[in-house]
């Protein structure tokens, strides 16, 4: 059965009497009616296709009735109205053509994450590949990323993206190691058993526990006036040091399991303008949130951003893990970690393994004791 959804036609309301005769007359002349309703004895409502309507007009079927066309529906009317809107159509066509054309251009080059490399330097390099503001730029992002990496040795990570008419270059520069003071510092946690200072100022003495990174001998000496004078510290350090390998085992943990219910909030954004904003509220006691942020059409002239936040309802579940089956494995792992930390030229004097409980965690430690004998000159 054909319906209004698939056909173009008119919703008609007739006022008058003896509708049965009208219907019979039209039926005999091959007119097909749809959705006939009779709200009262003087009214008849129905839907006919455009073809049947024209045929009815030819038959003068409406001559004894008052006709009201309630609604015109279907693709026929859509295209009919479009025909009358030539200006609008042309405008839309020109606008989309312009959008497509302008989308090919670059109007802004944005450089993010640079500290020592300047924007101008990046732009200069891009010019080598004929990429510049106000030009039609067709390039592969990977190609530019490679070029920038080759040109700047200070770049450790770089990503190039085309967002509408913008080129966004995100980079991370290599960290430059700052020159350190020439103080003698503890390489690990240690207990000083002997310290002989030939040059410099000792800040620690025999029997002191020193944490890793703490200064043992400072790179200065004080003159007769009490003023500090820089020097290279020379000393011999003998100390007991401990290398600790540690692993943790969670004995009791609370995990969140999704129930399947969710609340979605989203909006579209052009610049600072937000639109089509939907905000679904929720009363979930426990939940996990996932945020999505993407550009709707990556190469479109206007970058339309879509922000979506999905809140999943969760229920809490406490899981208990048995430590004992894992004991051997974790002890071996902590041992490997401790030996991995200790330099190869040192000898292990004592090896101790400790298993302790801390809240919901079991801490497994392997402690290696050794003696350091270092001469700084």
């Amino acid at each position: 059965m054909k319906t209004k959804l698939t056909q173009s036609g008119y919703d008609i309301t007739l006022k008058g009497l003896n509708f049965e005769r009208f219907l019979q007359y039209c039926k005999q002349n091959n007119v097909t009616f749809h959705n006939i309703l009779r709200p009262d004895h003087q009214t008849l409502q129905f839907f006919v296709t455009v073809k049947d309507y024209k045929h009815m007009l030819k038959l003068h079927a409406f001559r004894n009735y008052t006709v009201t066309t309630q609604k015109e529906s279907g693709t026929y009317f859509f295209f009919k109205h479009l025909k009358a809107q030539v200006g609008l159509l042309s405008g839309l066509f020109i606008a989309s053509l312009l959008f497509s054309l302008l989308s090919m251009f670059t109007f802004h080059i944005q450089v993010l994450g640079n500290e020592n490399i300047t924007h101008a330097q990046i732009v200069q390099v891009l010019k080598q590949k004929n990429i510049a503001v106000g030009k039609v730029n067709n390039f592969h992002n990977e190609e530019i990323e490679l070029l920038l990496k080759q040109q700047f040795s200070d770049i450790s990570l770089v990503s190039v993206m085309k967002q509408g008419t913008n080129i966004v270059i995100q980079l991370k520069e290599k960290q430059k190691l700052e020159t350190t003071e020439s103080d003698i510092v503890a390489p690990v946690n240690l207990l000083i058993t002997s310290l002989t200072v030939n040059q410099g100022t000792a800040l620690k003495q025999k029997g002191d526990m020193v944490k890793k990174g703490e200064v043992i001998v400072a790179a200065y000496i004080k003159n007769a006036k009490g003023e500090k004078q820089a020097c290279t510290p020379i000393a011999t350090l003998v100390a007991q040091a401990w290398y600790v390998g540690q692993t943790e085992f969670v004995t009791k943990e609370t995990v969140l399991i999704k129930t399947g219910k969710k609340a979605v909030s989203s909006y579209y954004q052009i610049g600072k303008l937000k639109f089509f904003e939907t905000n679904e509220s929720h009363k979930f006691a426990h939940f996990q949130t996932k945020t999505q942020n993407a550009i709707l059409f990556p190469n479109f002239f206007v970058p339309i951003r879509v922000h979506k936040t999905i809140v999943y309802e969760c229920k809490q579940k406490t899981i208990t893990h048995n430590f004992e089956p894992k004991r051997t494995e974790l002890l071996a792992k902590s041992k490997a970690l401790a030996y991995g930390l200790m330099p190869n030229n040192l000898t292990v004097e004592e090896e101790k393994q400790i298993v302790s409980q801390l809240g919901n965690k079991t801490i497994v430690q392997t402690v290696l004791r050794t003696t350091l004998n270092i001469t700084y000159s």
């Binding site: 059965m1 049965e20 039926k27 005999q28 091959n30 097909t32 009616f33 006939i36 004895h41």
Partner: protein
């Protein structure tokens, strides 16, 4: 085939079977009548359709004619009764 079976039962050729009126009542919600000759009455509570040698009275509530074409009519609504009333040749 359904039509062949009907042809055997009625002792009529298939072409003749196809010309006869048929009434289909789907769960008291939709009634389809094909090969009817005339729509006599249409009210939301009553639809009377003339078929060969009789009138078919469909009583119900919220009756709506979904489609009315030269050969068939489909009525939708809450159908309470569907009665075929024989009309003598003289009356007709």
């Amino acid at each position: 085939m359904f039509l062949e079976e009907l042809s055997k039962i009625t002792n009529l050729p298939i072409s003749e079977v196809l010309r006869e009126y048929t009434i289909s009542n789907v769960g008291g919600k939709v009634v389809n009548i094909s090969n009817f000759s005339k729509l006599i009455t249409y009210l939301p509570e009553l639809v009377v359709v003339k078929v060969k040698n009789g009138n078919l009275n469909i009583e119900g509530s919220n009756l709506k004619i979904m489609e009315l074409s030269k050969n068939s009519v489909t009525i939708q609504g809450v159908v309470h009764s569907c009665v075929l009333q024989k009309v003598s040749q003289n009356e007709n």
